[in-house]
Symmetry: C2
Subunit: 168 residues, 2 copies
DNA sequence: CAGAAACTATTGCACAATAAAACTGTTGTG
DNA sequence: CACAACAGTTTTATTGTGCAATAGTTTCTG
């Protein structure tokens, strides 16, 4: 499905460079998703992936209310409520009534929760750095430049998380 | 967490080039996961993501038995059984006893299932190609070279799918 | 200011995804 | 043939998910 040397998508339709780039991009993204998934699995075996995503949101945004949690995860508020229930039971987050507005709650990471996110993040960066370290040196700056051009073209500011991609 | 200009991971710890590359890689991978998730959502709104992963396995491997399905998806055999149940109800796959071994079954895509995978794949490639088309031309070959070096260093042959990454 | 409207979160209900364990039937092997 | 190994399903329990209804709280409006 993704042969590296392919340069035509359909017989008779010439798509010269773009197809090769697409192949390279898809292959690299598979590798990256694999790295991330393994980092999470290695560190957070008692937590599910959706739960980890919630922890990442709190790690990025700090103390927030349920609406923000649900919106950031792109799930129904009821789902967010119950995920928080379970993460409280696991000791990873806390939930308190917001003293400034009693209809809102404040959800935030506990020390254990922050620790977990930190461990996963460090491991993932370490694994990516290890791959980069195995690359021929001359390709490294090239990779930075090319990826920045790619990201730029994709129109995603590096701080914003495209929906569903925040755990990566 | 991932500012593009950051070049130190911890205060006092100098990690010159590798950290910049890691940032670039992580940012790009978020964009890519977003693209894939949107392509699936756009085409396959009646199918869930795990179900789509199952269809991709069948699309890649052809007719297989339940053990292979469960192994490729990295799920329990019982989970695979019920996912196939639902995909049969949706008309996307078929399941028959293997005539050569009556304790095995043969699961494969129906025409509708193959169609769905094809539509998602084409859309995703189109979206990536659109991003690439917005890149300055000189970066395109650079991107191919750099990503191939990166993938090579990651040790993933482009045909092999790291566990959990086959839907991407 | 009182009642209506809007907002925030939770609960009830239904179903999909998931794993572990028990179970059923099939195949292979001594 | 008896028994082990294998393939798949069913049972049981938990998590993730959305929709609809509900309960408080805050804000708006006449």
């Amino acid at each position: 499905m993704t042969g590296r040397t392919v340069s035509r998508s359909h017989p008779g339709t010439r798509v010269p460079a773009a197809d090769a780039v697409t192949d390279a991009v898809l292959t690299a993204s598979r590798l990256l998703v694999g790295v991330s998934a393994r980092s999470i699995a290695a560190v957070a075996d008692s937590i599910t992936l959706p739960q980890f995503r919630l922890l990442v949101v709190l790690s990025t945004r700090g103390a927030v209310n349920m609406s923000v949690v649900a919106e950031q995860l792109d799930v129904n508020p009821s789902t967010a409520t119950r995920m928080v229930d379970r993460l409280i039971a696991a000791g990873m987050v806390s939930r308190d009534t917001n003293p400034a507005s009693r209809r809102e709650v404040v959800v935030q990471l506990t020390a254990a929760g922050g620790d977990l996110v930190g461990r996963v993040t460090r491991l993932r960066r370490k694994e990516i750095a290890a791959i980069v370290a195995r690359m021929p040196g001359k390709h490294r700056q090239e990779l930075v430049d090319a990826l920045e051009a790619f990201t730029e073209a994709g129109g995603e500011p590096s701080a914003a998380l495209p929906e569903g991609a925040d755990w990566i």
